[in-house]
């Protein structure tokens, strides 16, 4: 794949894998209104994933469709960050994951609107509005759970603690991104870290939560090294499609 295709795939994989996780909440949310809200977020992300995967396939030029890329790649070929593949846990874990990822996505898409690649710029322009709502949703809930009851405070803090080791990976750069960023095509994630810190710290403080100091950090998602959860997620997502090679759905 050419670098731009790989970059589009990274963004698309993040969105696709998080959709897969969020959709597991269907019929299981703490309240019916929240079931509807989580699905809206999932549908936004799925829409982003489809456009980005299609674009990656188009750039690759070998005729691979969004479905070929979603269903027929193996675990080592998925380039999402490990944060998005982490299991839902309780609602506190899910909200923590949403907060940490959505703020990151908002800042990346925000800058990507100025990309010299018109397709990426257009995708970012649409997605940034969707993600602004996802950030708001996560911030609203982080405040309520953090500053709600004693139990909810503890659960929300536990969610933040559990997800924090996956934060460092968000801001990691490599040669591919560095070159694309230098050419004005991609956003170097390191460039949004300071703003991410500012925004997340403000919410945590508001929610009476503490920023953790993790003892370890995840690495490798962008080069296809994932946590053990990923294989199960893909097995579930891909098994039907793969059981009927060449079929149309």
């Amino acid at each position: 794949m050419i670098p731009l295709a790989t970059y589009a795939l990274r963004l698309g994989d993040d969105a696709l894998v998080l959709t897969q996780r969020l959709s597991e909440w269907s019929s299981r949310a703490p309240e019916l209104e929240e079931d509807v809200a989580l699905t809206n977020i999932g549908l936004d992300l799925l829409g982003q994933a489809r456009v980005l995967l299609s674009y990656a396939g188009e750039l690759e030029g070998e005729g691979r469709t969004e479905d070929d890329l979603a269903y027929l790649r193996d675990e080592r070929e998925f380039t999402n960050v490990q944060l998005v593949e982490q299991p839902n846990g309780d609602f506190g874990v899910t909200i923590a994951r949403q907060l940490l990822f959505s703020v990151y996505q908002l800042l990346v898409y925000g800058d990507l609107r100025a990309s010299s690649d018109p397709t990426l710029a257009a995708v970012a322009g649409k997605a940034v509005k969707e993600v602004a709502y996802h950030v708001d949703h996560a911030e609203q809930w982080t405040r309520r759970l953090g500053d709600g009851t004693e139990e909810s405070h503890d659960r929300m803090q536990a969610g933040i603690d559990a997800m924090w080791p996956f934060v460092a990976e968000l801001f990691e750069s490599d040669d591919l991104v560095a070159e694309l960023a230098a050419a004005g095509v991609a956003v170097d994630p390191a460039s949004v870290q300071a703003e991410w810190d500012r925004r997340v710290d403000a919410v945590l403080a508001d929610a009476t939560l503490t920023r953790p100091t993790p003892t370890w950090r995840a690495r490798g998602g962008r080069s296809g090294v994932h946590s053990e959860h990923m294989g199960f997620l893909l097995a579930e997502m891909q098994h039907l499609h793969r059981s009927h090679p060449g079929a149309t759905w």
């Binding site: 019929s27 699905t39 909810s152």
Partner: protein
């Protein structure tokens, strides 16, 4: 006003095909019938999320995944519209959910069947949603205003549900031999339960006559069932699939399709709790509610705290 005069006003409103609104006087039996029916309808929507939600994470294309997520989400939405309508009659959603969770109120038995293949997503859309729409369209003219308004919104949104199911089955039917077999198997399993969705035959239906008088029900169970059969047979032909009823034939005198005997013993057995998924559906629903309690409490506590802070600051 005394009760006789109130009753007279109520009857006049019904006779004029006008709508009863929440704060109007209404006979207690009318109120209780509506609460029971709307609650059962609402419960069916939210329990109905489970058999289809079962396939969201495994949907075989991203397009189908998006469609299925949106559809299951609509069911949550429809449940919400209906709980709201029930609440205008003086019950709370908590009370209704409690009755569902403790087995004192029912949901449609159709959701006690398992969805064991992807083709079930098609069969449910085409047949189960088709039957539901047949039942629901007349409810858009129900005498109780809030219920009728909820049904109008639901019917408008629901029309995509049946179409996506039909299209899904058509794709399978025109697909590989395995896909076509999967589609036929799903239709075989869902056809008879769909016919049962219209309720017991008119000769045995207990609530029908009074509900007709009150303008809650417009057509009898058997009338609606017949309409559904008449609509489905030509659709099955377009799909290239067979309906599993050897007695199905067109009667040119009546202009309707005749169909075989429905196994009402199966209907009663599942209604009584002995269906393949009754226990599983209920456990899933209760777990979601129980697991969510701390979240609902936290949000309520946060709202109280903030209100107190604002009061303190004022």
């Amino acid at each position: 006003m005394d009760e006789t005069a109130l009753q007279r006003d109520f009857d006049a409103t019904i006779d004029a095909d006008d709508r009863i609104e929440p704060r109007d006087w209404m006979p207690d039996a009318y109120r209780q019938t509506l609460i029971r029916q709307i609650a059962q309808h609402a419960h069916s929507e939210i329990i109905g999320m489970q058999p289809e939600g079962n396939w969201i994470t495994r949907a075989p294309s991203l397009k189908r995944k998006a469609i299925l997520m949106a559809k299951v989400q609509d069911e949550a939405g429809h449940g919400l519209y209906l709980y709201s309508a029930a609440e205008t009659l003086g019950v709370s959603r908590d009370e209704l959910l409690d009755k569902l969770h403790t087995g004192r109120q029912r949901y449609s038995s159709i959701f006690n069947y398992p969805t064991i293949t992807w083709a079930d997503m098609g069969a449910i859309g085409w047949l189960v949603d088709g039957a539901a729409i047949m039942n629901q369209v007349p409810l858009c003219r129900c005498s109780y205003g809030p219920y009728a308004r909820a049904m109008i919104r639901i019917c408008k949104e629901e029309s995509f549900h049946q179409r996506q199911g039909f299209e899904l089955l058509l794709t399978l039917s025109n697909g590989t031999a395995e896909q076509k077999a999967m589609a036929q198997d799903a239709v075989n399993r869902w056809w008879w339960p769909s016919l049962m969705m219209f309720g017991p035959p008119d000769s045995e239906s207990t609530h029908s006559e009074q509900s007709m008088r009150w303008g809650i029900k417009r057509f009898s169970n058997d009338e609606l069932r017949q309409r559904f059969v008449d609509a489905s047979v030509p659709q099955a032909e377009i799909l290239g699939l067979t309906l599993p009823d050897p007695q199905l034939r067109f009667n040119s005198e009546t202009g309707h399709y005749e169909y075989g005997d429905i196994d009402w013993s199966e209907f009663k057995r599942i209604l009584a709790g002995d269906g393949p998924c009754n226990a599983q559906r209920m456990a899933h629903r209760v777990k979601a509610h129980t697991d969510g309690a701390w979240v609902r409490e936290a949000a309520a506590a946060y709202a109280d705290k903030r209100a107190a802070r604002e009061e303190g600051a004022a």
